[in-house]
Amino acid sequence: MAPFAILFAFVFILPIGWAVYSSFFRQIAEGGGAYGGGKLVNKFVGLQNFQYAITSADFWTGVGHVLVYTVIQVPVMIIAALALAMVVDSFVVKHVTGFRLGYFLPYAIPGVVASIIWVYLYNGQISPIVKGLAAIGINVDFFADNVVLLSMANITTWTFTGYNMLIFLAALQAIPHDLYEAARIDGANGWQIAMKIKLPNVRGAALLAMLLSIVGTIQLFNEPQIMATADPGISKSYTPMMMALNTSQGTLTPSGDGPASAIAIVMALIAGVLAMLYTLAERKVNE
C-alpha cells in the first residue's frame, strides 16, 4: 500500500492542494507597472482569479463548446458502441473476431496521431472523402465554424467506440445463457431478447462508460489543439483546457499559475456537478 500511497499523494493530492493554494495568488512585476521590469513576485489576490475565470466570456464560450460537444458526442458513441456490441453478441453472424478486432484497433492510435490523420481527411486538397462528396455534388467544409465541433466529435467517436463496445460485449457475455433459453421457451424473438434481457443487464456498464466519457470530454484538448494547426478559427481558448494551458504558459493574459489553476478548479467543479447530476438522474429513472 505504501508505495502507491506515496506516489498517489505526490501526483494527485499535492497538485490538488497546490492548485487550490496558487489560485489565490497572481504573479505581478515588482513595482506595480505592467512593464515595470522588476522581478516577478507572488501576490495574494483573494478570489480575483476565480472572479476572472467566472466573468470571462472566453471561458464560458469554451465551456459552451465542451457542453455541446459532450451532449452530441457521448450519446452517439455510447449508442453506437451498444448497438455494435449487441450485433456482435447476437447469434446471427458467426466469426465475429475479425470485426471485434477491427473496431477496437483505433483505440491503439494515440489521440494526436488520430487527429492528424483525420485533419488530413478533412482537408479539401488531399482528402478522398471531400473530393468524393464533391464529385457527387455535395460540398462540405469540415472546418466551417458550425461544423468543426462535429468534426472533432467524429475523431473522438472513431477512437473510443470500439473500446466501449468491448466493455459492453464483456457485460453481455456475462449474462447467463439460461435466461435466453427461458425467454425462447416463453416465445420471445431475438429482438425481444435483445431489448428486454440484454439491454437491462448492461445498464450498469453503460452508466459507468457514460460517466467516464463525460469526464473525458470535459478535458477536451488533443483534438482542438491539433485542429488548430489546420484551422486558424480555433482560438487559444477554444476549450477551457486549452485556455488553462495557454494561460499558464503566458500566451493569454492574465497569465501564470494562479488564473490557470482557477480555471482548472472551476472546470473540476463543473465536472463533479455534471457527474453527480447524471448519477442522480440515472437513479431516478431506475426507481
Binding site: F4, I167, Q173, A174, G190, L212, A271
Partner: protein, 316 residues
C-alpha cells in the same frame, strides 16, 4: 509461472467450448427462431459498414505514407501514386524526408516513448497491485476513506492536474527530465481499481491462511504467492498503463522542451504545427511507424484487454 500457464490453458479451453456452444446454438434453434435471410444480410451490412468506418482512415494513412506532397494533392487518394514496382523507392524517399524533418531524432522519439511507457507501466503496475491487494485483504484504519478518495480521483479529469503538476515539478527543477513524465504516469486510479477487483476475486483467503500457518512472512507471501496468482491481472494493468502513457499528449507538451526528450506523439505534433511543413506523406509514415509498437502489443495480447474490460464492466 506454471500456475499462470495452466490458467491460460483452461481459459482457452473454455473459450473454445463457448465457441462450439455458439455454433451449436445456431443449428439447434427451432426453425421459427432461426434468423431470417433478411436479418442476416442487414446484420452483415451493418458490421461491414462499421468496419469500413474504423479501418478506412488507417488504410488511407498507409497509402498516403508513400506519397510526395504533389502526389498527395494530384493523385487518387485511395491508391498508390506509383506502380507497385516503384513502391520501395517511394517509401525510401519518404523515410529519408521523415528523418530529415525530425533532424534524425525520429527513432530517438520512439525509444523515448517506449522508455516512458514501459518504465511507468512497470512501476505503476506493481504499485497498483500492492495497493489493490492491501485494500482487498487487510483491514486498517482509514481504509475506506482511502478507497473513496482514489475512486473519486478516477472520475476527476486528470488533465486538469497537469498544470499544478508542472508547477511542482518546476519548483523541484525536474521539468524537462524523463522523470517529469514517468512519475505522473506511474499512478493510475483505474489500475488500483483493477488490482483490487482481481485480488478480491483470485486470491483465496484459505491460501493466505495456510501460508501464514506455515510461517511465511507477509512480504514473502506477497512476492511468491500473490504476485503469481495475479500475473494475468498484472499484464492487463500493464497494458492499460502503457497505452495511457503512450497516448498522453498534454503532459509531455508541458513538461518537456528538449528535442531529444520528446515522445513520438509530441515530436509529430511539433512537425505539423510548423507553418512551413508540407511533407504530409512523410508525416503519415512517421505516424504509422510511431504507433507500430502499440499495435503489436494490441494484437499480441488481445485477450488480456478483454479480461480487464470485463472486470470493469461486471463490477461497474
Amino acid at each position: 509461472m506454471s500456475s499462470a500457464t495452466v490458467n491460460e490453458r483452461e481459459r482457452r479451453r473454455a473459450e473454445r467450448r463457448l465457441e462450439k456452444q455458439r455454433a451449436a446454438a445456431e443449428h439447434d434453434l427451432p426453425r421459427s427462431m432461426r434468423p431470417s435471410a433478411a436479418v442476416k444480410v442487414i446484420t452483415v451490412v451493418v458490421l461491414v459498414v462499421a468496419l469500413f468506418y474504423f479501418l478506412f482512415p488507417i488504410y488511407w494513412a498507409i497509402i498516403a505514407s508513400t506519397k510526395s506532397p504533389s502526389q498527395m494533392v494530384g493523385t487518387n487518394g485511395m491508391w498508390f501514386a506509383v506502380g507497385l514496382g516503384d513502391l520501395p523507392n517511394a517509401i525510401a524517399s519518404n523515410y529519408a524526408t521523415l528523418l530529415g524533418w525530425t533532424r534524425g531524432n525520429f527513432w530517438r522519439w520512439v525509444l523515448n516513448s517506449l522508455i516512458y511507457s514501459g518504465v511507468s507501466a512497470a512501476i505503476g503496475t506493481i504499485a497498483a497491485v500492492m495497493a489493490g491487494y492491501a485494500t482487498a485483504k487487510f483491514n486498517f484504519r482509514g481504509k475506506n476513506a482511502a478507497i473513496g478518495v482514489i475512486m473519486a480521483c478516477m472520475l476527476m479529469p486528470a488533465a486538469l492536474l497537469t498544470i499544478p503538476q508542472y508547477s511542482i515539478f518546476h519548483s523541484l527543477h525536474l521539468t524537462n527530465t524523463m522523470l517529469s513524465i514517468i512519475i505522473p504516469c506511474c499512478v493510475s486510479p483505474f489500475g488500483f481499481f483493477l488490482g483490487r477487483v482481481y485480488a478480491q476475486s483470485s486470491v483465496p483467503d484459505e491460501l493466505l491462511e495456510a501460508a501464514r500457518i506455515d510461517g511465511a512472512s507477509e512480504a514473502r507471501i506477497f512476492f511468491t504467492i500473490v504476485l503469481r496468482l495475479l500475473a494475468p491481472a498484472m499484464v492487463t494493468i500493464f497494458l492499460f498503463l502503457f497505452v495511457a502513457t503512450w497516448n498522453n499528449f498534454l503532459l509531455p507538451l508541458m513538461m518537456v522542451s528538449s528535442d531529444t526528450l520528446k515522445p513520438v506523439t509530441l515530436g509529430l505534433y511539433g512537425m505539423v504545427s510548423l507553418a512551413t511543413f508540407t511533407d504530409r506523406g512523410a508525416l503519415m509514415m512517421g505516424a504509422l511507424l510511431g504507433v507500430l509498437p502499440v499495435i503489436v502489443l494490441f494484437l499480441g495480447l488481445q485477450r488480456f484487454w478483454q479480461s480487464g474490460l470485463a472486470a470493469g464492466a461486471v463490477k461497474g
